[in-house]
Each structure stands twice: as structure tokens, then as C-alpha cells.
Assembly symmetry: C2
Homo-oligomer: 618 residues x 2
């Protein structure tokens, strides 16, 4: 087989090529004023007429000639013969030059008496007070703010030329199915161009998504040609690597030229930058997080060259909770969860697999580790780039430890109160360790001690001299999930899927195996680990394994048989000093809501008589 390799260049080089290799001329689009908020003006906007066009009264009162009021005083009331009654907004009739408030006027038989002189122009809104005809209302290149539509409408603007950058996105790949069709084995729903076009539209680009094209050079060439004709920028999704079905680079080279094939970023390496008929053409990697990285770091900043303002990202200095391994050479982007614990911002890296889109859903921040850098150590102060408004990051509640499906329901209930619960599934033991280092707000845990008690012995060991609260989520049934009702003693004869070391479920399994006299070595697949209950159930349903241990609700969600093994105490550990925190208070209140108990009951396998109970471990 023919092997081809990418000729990788640095991100700096890419930025340089993009800054110099293209003439970026945006088009313009005429939009009605009501659709113009958020758009960028293609040129300056001038007032078509003044606001107001003629002098108006600023008060309810009478219009007068100011010189006729000169002698009026409390001692010397003056009766004005030819005053005219005006309301706020009425035209001040020609010849009149001031308005007196109705409260300061004594009226009798249509004659007005005043007791105070007024100055020329008093309570008169002069023509052009707000804006004068021919004046510039807003400059070109300006992002129109919603409230500015008022002034624009007022001075006669009905529609506006705005900057328009047309981006065409071409999804490619034999494995792709369109949204709405259930993918068969090895197929995936086409989602990268959807994500990319939403991200680019947010920055003001106008995006067109083309139909899915198979990995076939002829069709690909056709649609790329068409997309180049119809757009300012073209993005081809997938096929950008150097495999046997990666045609993108060859076709761009055939129709134009390829500047870059391979960029030293992680994720995002198999990317292409080229030019066809003077227009930039990007080859976007197929792994979702690689595509996300290319859009965010390369394509969106490039839009600025067309006059679209690139949204800034706020940064927050934060302490890193765990090490990040990295070799020098690539700029790396790491999705993270960020939260404020006490007065300290703490940031935790997510899974770095480029296929795991949920990392980007869970993440509220990311790190850029420059090419020169060689990884980070726990405790390093790093610049967290926010993926949410800062206020949302401040309201993030970090729950780290044991996994249970009901944690997601807690997240749902808490979101209604403006709190983003971000849960990371690392198992009970690691959760307690992170709680001990103040790297999360709360740690769900269900750790069985040899004496049969739950959690307390571990807390005493990990938190000497520190008071910790345990709030009970529920008593919880653990058992064996399988396709045909396997029980614990039968595990010897089947393929198992395990939970990771340090998880409460693993501790429980080992305890139960020991009790039953079964050695882990006798269990095929004991070493294969996943990190959630539902992943265990899924491995069983898909046939990858015959059995695993999980909670009832996970087995039930996938319709699998479940043989109970033990009832355990699933609790959330919280440092006592944190109990006053508004997020923690909301968490505890939510657990105690009848609504949450109802959810537990409907999922099944939970003993809710203990839900919300609290105990303190000193």
C-alpha cells in the first residue's frame, strides 16, 4: 500500500500564510433594519433627516416669545396675549422661541398669566437636537447593537448594507448519514459541518451546507468547484488526512494550490489550507474535536480579515488540578472544566480523545499549551480561556467522583436555578482525593469498608482533622447486568467488563468476589475498564462483554436483566466549611426536593427513605 505523510507546519506559519496569502474582500448584503442587530455595517450610515426636523415642545405648556416675558415676576404677573397651547412633542409654531410648563401658567378665558421670565429656547427641543440630517450615525465596520436600531429608524434608515462573508461547507465521507437517519454499524451522523456553520454564523458569516459527498474524486471535484463559485470561503469536512480515501488535498492541488497539509496542533493535525481561483479553501479534519479546534483557532480568526469582528475570549488565571503530558512541537488545546472553589479558580483537563464530543459539551474552558511547552504540573497557574460567560463559570458546581445516572438529573434541576453542575467521573476514591485538595466542590462516593460501613472510614483517613458532611443521595442497588440474568457466582464462566480502579463499584465487586471465594484472575475481562454504569451496561448489550456490575437504573435504561448483589449508601461528601456556599446550599436543597425523590423512584433501584439525610464525619 502507498503511504503518504503530512508535511506538518506550525500554527504560527499557518497564521502567517493566512495573513499574506489571500485578498479578502467581503461582499455586502442589504438587510431590513429589524434584522440588522449584530451585523457589521459595510459602510457609514448617514441620517436621512434630522431628529427632530423642526423645533418641538419638550413639555406640556404654552409657546411664547421669550422677550415678551422679560418683565414677569412674582410681584409683577404678566399676561401673554398671543401664547399658544402646546403638548410635549408638538411643533413650536414659527415666531415662538420658548415654552412655559403648564404648571407655571394661570389660565383664564384663554389668556395666560405667568410670574417668571423665561429665556430664549427654554423647553424647546431644537431641530437636530438628537441628530442632524447628513450626520454620520454609525461608521462602517461597526457591529450594530440592538438599541441602536432606534436611532437608525428615527432618522429614516429602513435597511442597511452589512458585511457578508459566504462560507460553503462540504461534508464528505462514505460513512456519513444525514441527520434524521439512524446510522448503521460504522456509520455516523454528519455533524461537523453543522457545528462549524453554527460557530461561524455566530461570528457573522453566512453559511451554506452542501449535501454529503461520497469519497469519490469525481463528485468531490464537482462540488468543490461549485462551492468555490458560490462562496467566499470553502470548507471541506474530512478527507483531509493522508489515507487511501483522503482525496481533498489532491483535488485542491488540481484545481488550485495547497499551501499547508498538516498543522502542528493537537487536536487538529490533519488539516489543509489551499486556494482555488483566489479563494481560500480549508480541509477540516474528520474527528469532531479536531474540526472544532480548526474552526475556533484558525478559521474564525481568519474571518477578521473580512471585517468580521472576532469574538474575544476572556481568560482567567487558574490552578491546574492534574498534570498534562505533552511533548514540545505542537500547540495543544485541552478542553477543561473550570470552577471557583473558595477564592481559587481550579481547572481540570477533560479526556483528550479527538472523537469525544462530550468533552466539549462538558467543558466550560480550555487551555492553549504553546508548541515550546512540555506539559504542565498539578498546581501550575495557567490561563483558562472561557467557553461560557464568566458569570456562568462562577456559578459552576464541580462534582467529582463516583458516577450515577441521577447526577445528570441533579444537573437538570440545578440548571433551572442558574447553577451549572459539572460532573466528572473519576470514581469515589479519586473524587475524595480531589475534594481533599480543594479541587472540586463535592464528591459523590460509595466506598465500602471491610466492616460493612460506607464512606466514613475513608473520610477519616483522607480528611484527618477536617469536618466533612455526607449528604445521602439514596440507598442504591448494585448488581450484575447481563443479557441473560447472570449472577455473581456465574461470573467465572463469562466475559466481564469492569469499572476503573478506585471506583466504589470496583471496591464493592472485589469485596463481593472475595466473600464468594472468586479470584479476579478467574474472570475474563476483569482488567478492561470503563468509567460509568451506563458504559458497563452498553458493553453488555453490544455483546462486547457478557456481564458487568452496575446500578439498577443503568441496566433498566438499556432494558437488560439485573441480579442484585448489594444495597449501598451513595452519598455526596462536602467540606463543612463550604456548606455556606450558595451553590452547595442549592445542591443540598435540590436533593431534598420531592421532585428529585420522584425522579429516583421512577428510575428504580433507589431507596429514597434516606435521601437528603446528612451526617458529619470529623
Amino acid at each position: 500500500m502507498v503511504k503518504r505523510y503530512l508535511d506538518v507546519v506550525s500554527l504560527d506559519t499557518v497564521e502567517n500564510i493566512l495573513a499574506t496569502g489571500f485578498i479578502c474582500m467581503p461582499g455586502t448584503l442589504r438587510v431590513p433594519l429589524e434584522d440588522a442587530a449584530g451585523c457589521i455595517t459595510a459602510g457609514p450610515i448617514f441620517a436621512r433627516y434630522s431628529i427632530p426636523e423642526i423645533h418641538l415642545s419638550a413639555m406640556d405648556g404654552i409657546a411664547v416669545v421669550s422677550s415678551q416675558t422679560e418683565d414677569a415676576s412674582e410681584q409683577n404677573p404678566v399676561t401673554i396675549m398671543d401664547a399658544v397651547r402646546v403638548n410635549t412633542g408638538n411643533v413650536v409654531p414659527p415666531g415662538f422661541d420658548a415654552v412655559i410648563m403648564i404648571e407655571d401658567v394661570w389660565e383664564e378665558n384663554g389668556r395666560f398669566t405667568i410670574r417668571k421670565a423665561v429665556s430664549l429656547g427654554q423647553h424647546v427641543r431644537p431641530a437636530g437636537e438628537d441628530l442632524a440630517e447628513s450626520e454620520m450615525v454609525i461608521p462602517g465596520g461597526h457591529r450594530i447593537r440592538a438599541h441602536e436600531l432606534g436611532a437608525l429608524a428615527g432618522c429614516g434608515v429602513t435597511d442597511i448594507d452589512v458585511i457578508s462573508v459566504q462560507v460553503g461547507l462540504v461534508p464528505t465521507g462514505n460513512e456519513l448519514v444525514p441527520r434524521g437517519i439512524r446510522p448503521g454499524p460504522g456509520q455516523v451522523v454528519e455533524s461537523n459541518t453543522l457545528m462549524a456553520s453554527a460557530m461561524l454564523a455566530e461570528c457573522g458569516a453566512h453559511c451554506t451546507r452542501y449535501p454529503i459527498v461520497k469519497d469519490d474524486p469525481v463528485s468531490l471535484r464537482d462540488i468543490i468547484n461549485r462551492a468555490v463559485d458560490e462562496n467566499d470561503i470553502v470548507i471541506i469536512s474530512a478527507g483531509s488526512s493522508a489515507g487511501t480515501r483522503d482525496y481533498t488535498a489532491d483535488i485542491i492541488r488540481e484545481l488550485g494550490e495547497v499551501f499547508v497539509h498538516g498543522i502542528a496542533t493537537k487536536p487538529g493535525k490533519p488539516a489543509i489550507i489551499g486556494k482555488i481561483r483566489e479563494k481560500p479553501v480549508f480541509g477540516m479534519p474528520g474527528y469532531p474535536l479536531s474540526a472544532l479546534t480548526m474552526v475556533r483557532e484558525i478559521i474564525i480568526p481568519f474571518l477578521a480579515r473580512y471585517g468580521l469582528p472576532v469574538p474575544g475570549h476572556d481568560s482567567i488565571p487558574a490552578y491546574l488540578s492534574s498534570a498534562i503530558a505533552k511533548e514540545a512541537g505542537s500547540d495543544e488545546f485541552v478542553l477543561c472544566t473550570l470552577g471557583k472553589i473558595g477564592d481559587r479558580w481550579v481547572i481540570t483537563p477533560q479526556s483528550r480523545g479527538a472523537a469525544v464530543q462530550m468533552s466539549a459539551v462538558r467543558a466550560n474552558a480550555y487551555l492553549k499549551l504553546p508548541a515550546m511547552q512540555e506539559g504542565c504540573e498539578p498546581g501550575d497557574l495557567v490561563q483558562a480561556r472561557l467557553m461560557v460567560p464568566k458569570r456562568d463559570a462562577e456559578n459552576a458546581l464541580l462534582l467529582t467522583g463516583s458516577h450515577d445516572p441521577v447526577i445528570d438529573y441533579l444537573a437538570d434541576l440545578l440548571q433551572r436555578r442558574g447553577i451549572s453542575l459539572i460532573s466528572t467521573h473519576v470514581g469515589s476514591m479519586k473524587g475524595l482525593l480531589m475534594l481533599g485538595k480543594n479541587e472540586c466542590h463535592a464528591a459523590p462516593t460509595h466506598l465500602l469498608s471491610p466492616d460493612g460501613s460506607y464512606n466514613t472510614e475513608y473520610l477519616k483517613r483522607y480528611f484527618p482533622g477536617t469536618d466533612v458532611i455526607l449528604v445521602s443521595v439514596a440507598g442504591r442497588e448494585q448488581g450484575i447486568v447481563s443479557r441473560d440474568g447472570i449472577s455473581l457466582p456465574e461470573l467465572r464462566d463469562c466475559t466481564f467488563i469492569n469499572r476503573q480502579k478506585g471506583s466504589g463499584t470496583r471496591v464493592l465487586l472485589d469485596y463481593e468476589l472475595n466473600k464468594a471465594g472468586i479470584s479476579p484472575r478467574d474472570i475474563r475481562g476483569y482488567e478492561r475498564e470503563v468509567t460509568t454504569h451506563i458504559a458497563v451496561a452498553l458493553a453488555v448489550r453490544s455483546g462486547e462483554a457478557d456481564a458487568g456490575m452496575c446500578v439498577f437504573s443503568a441496566a433498566n435504561a438499556l432494558g437488560l436483566p439485573f441480579v442484585p448483589v448489594a444495597q449501598e449508601q451513595y452519598e455526596i461528601a462536602i467540606r463543612k466549611e463550604q456548606v455556606g456556599d450558595a451553590r452547595i446550599r442549592a445542591l443540598i436543597e435540590t436533593i431534598r426536593q420531592p421532585r428529585f425523590r420522584d425522579i429516583l423512584d421512577s428510575l428504580g433501584g433507589y431507596d429514597t427513605t434516606v435521601t437528603g439525610r446528612q451526617r458529619t464525619v470529623s
Copy 2:
């Protein structure tokens, strides 16, 4: 006439009424996934299937049974008999449990030899790695981020129920004309509901604007009834005060109840809050900035009760440049211009007229002065609430001093470079004073000394011991604008419109009047002041005055005769220490662009041979 008064309540009271007086149940709207970015989920979204649904290869290579590779090593190559060739993304066939990268495989006649053992699960993406069927992808009440559309599409979501708050906006008033029609005398273009609906839509509300209704109780009642039926919230624009044509409160009272009529905010006092058939109904004041204030401070925060997240506003501590007069009793909101001068944020209040919409266009920040407070002093440290992204505020260039229409063109050219030029027209003298106090970046000035020189004598007086740069914008023709070619000596016989004290034009006028032996007292209207050249020309065109002094370009813009009086030097003063600032550099470069000179030439009345010249005054 019957006088009615508003029964004013505090903003705190209003917030309390809104928090307790309504049951806020948002509707839901089903939107296709591609339109869902930025929407708020009405409930949690669950994965319809797993990503991936079945184990996939994460690499191009061969699928193997890991136990068959146990003995392989460099010394002991093993040939695998029943391996299967797989590409990235292919299904790992049943029975296989690991993938070996093609680079590590030696192939001969369809048989694969390896030199390294592999562990179970290597390079296999297990089913559910990204997301497992039945798992919650995002909770309810969550604002969908653009990049999340990828994960949602991937797991089978095609459309989403989002929170929908329907807001109906009813514009009322005999003086209103719809957009596209030129308002006659005393008429205005209906713009407040346009502004309000754009602001509310930005927060996620779905707005309907009803046609303009005359001030007629019968029509008003009909349309309010209809709007209440068709929406969750109704806003009636104008008619909310207590004048003879203000029917809004009476109609709300007739159809439901009125909780509040009059709110102690400035601007925004004549506002109404009521309830019809359990739905909140707001009466919005007619002055644009009063309406803006009510939307921003009362209605938008109220949307949070329907589950729409209220956008936070970032605050920056800034030094106030000038005093703000205020009496205790009302919460006051003051539109301001904010800029960073050196290391110091400086904020300057704008005109406070509730009718001056351009204040909101020019403003990039505002202040909230609480009811208890009694005004602010220059130098006070205040909390500036940003109306633009912080980065834009950092790029604001504050130009304060003399006015010239070309300053707007400078703003247009600078905006293309990402710099927002904010010009405040206070006249040359006040501009230099503010430059002296480091309250602006640059001050346009044209101050004539008795010796006939421009600007230098004033700089020596105001900036002793400080080096100041003067950059010439142009030589500029000043003259008398009129409807019938009046010249300076003829000013005695007509009504004049003047510029404000401290403006260069006023200084020039006084100098020329003195030279011609005319006393200001002989000029009718000498005391009547406006602050821009175009306002002078407009007062002349509208007949308010017969003549005024202004630059040629302003007279020309309104097609008025112009009799030249003098050629002056219009320059921009900049502290020398500031010349390195990127914004200042861009300003000077822009003045020197041929494009700017072309604009000056096309406007007329400018001597561009001196444009861009620089001199230093020590």
C-alpha cells in the same frame, strides 16, 4: 383641564412586585437543530443512541484477538492467521478485541506479522465511548452553545424543544409614522418597539410588533386584548404618562389591574406595570432613552423568571471626569463614554436628555446611581457598566473638543482598524482642559490668539512644562451660513444662532466681530447656543435663525449659502507621552492616508496641503 399625577414607586418595589406578582410559565417551541444555537433548552436532552454504537477501530490497521499476540516480541515475531484489515472508523468485527496500527504490521500474502504484544481494547473505540444511549447530553434551562450542535446531531437529536417567551409590542401615538415614511412636522418614526424587540430578542424572547395604534381608547383596548391573548408578555409603547392622551393605564386597569404607575428612575419615570388575565403588561415611556432604560433595567431582568438567562454586564471601575448632579430619590442611569487613558479608565457622562437617542449610540458604558446617592464629583471612582465587549472599550479612542464633520469620517476609517473613535463635542477650550487632566486621548482644537496664531498660545498656557503634539487635520474655512448669503457686517440685522462659549468658532466670531466693530449685544440670538457646525446650519435652514458661523462643509451638506470669513488651523492636540499608544498611532496614520485627504477635498472648504503636518509645543 384635569391633571393626574403618577404615584411613583422605587425600583426596589418594582423588582419585588415582579418577583411575586406573576406566575411565569414559558411556552416551548420546537426548533430544528440547526437553528438551536443560543436557545434555551426547555427540558433535558437525552442521547437517542450511543456514539459509537459499536466498537470501532481508532486507527488504520488490523483487528486482532489480543490473547493471540501475547508471545510477540522483537525477538519472536508472531504471524496472526485470522486478523482483519480495518481503517479508522471501521467496525471491529465480533470476536476481535484490539487493533494494531498498520505501521507496526508486516504484511505478506495476506498474512500479518507483528513484533509486539497488544493489550485488550488497544486502539478500539468502545461502544458509548463518547456518549451512551439514554444518557443526558444537556440539561434543561441550558443555553445551547454552537459547538454543542455536533454532539447533539451525533446522538440522533434532530430538533429541540426550547423555551419560548412570546412578547407582544404595541406602538401607540397619533404622532407616529411607520418606518419608510418621512415624518411630517411634529411626527416621528416609530422606533421604540423596534429597539425593544431587538433587545429582547437578543435575550431569547420571541417578539411580535403590532401595527401603530392611534391615541384612541377603543382601538387601544382592542389591540391590547388581542396582544394579551397572543403573547406571554405585552408591552405598550407610549401613552404611559398622565397627560390628556395617555390612556394606557386606564385601559390596563379596566381589563385587569395596575400595580405601578410611575417608577422612580431617571430616565424612565412614566412607566406602568399591570396584569391582564394573569399576564404581565408593561407601559413603556415614549422618550427613547426612557424606553431603553425600562427594557434594560426592568423587562430584560424579568425574562429570567421565564428561564431565559439574563446577559450579565461586566463592570470596570473608572474615574469620573465631570460632576453628575442628582437629587436623592430616584435610581438614575447615565449613558457615558469610557476609555483607557494610559493605565487609567476614565468615564465621561453624555447628554442626559431622554430624547437624545444618539447618546446611546455614542455610549459604550453607563452608570447606575442608586436612589440614595446625591450626585458624583469629578475624580470619583465609579463602576462603569459596559455596553460593548471589554476589548472594544480598550480600543476606544476618546477625542474631545472642537467639532468638525470630518471627525466622523476619521471614525469610519479607524473602525476598519478595530478602533472605536468616540468624539465628544465640547468646544476647543474644554477639550484642551480635559486633555490636560488626562481625560481624553486627543483634543481637536482651533483657538485663535490675538496675535493671529492658532492653538500654540493656548497650549503653552494650559500645558506648562508638558510637550504637546499638534497634528494638522486641515486648514479650514469658517464663514457665515444663511439662507440668502448674509455676510458678517450684515449680522446686525438678523437673528443669529451661536456656538457655545469656549468653542473655537465662538472665539473666532468674537475676534472677527471686534475687528468689524460690531458688539455682540447688537446681534439678536447671540446668546442662543448649539454645539456643532451642522446644528448651526440646521437652525438656519429651519428658519429658527437667519445666520450663524460654521465651516463650509456643514453649510454645503445642507445646501446653504456660505460667505467665507477666515481660514483657520484645525489641529488635534495629543500629549507627546501618548504618541506611542497604538490608538494614537493609528489616528495619525489615518489622517495622513491619501484616502482621508480625498474625503476632505470632496467635502470642500479644507486646505489639505497642511493635512498631517505635525508640530510640537513645549
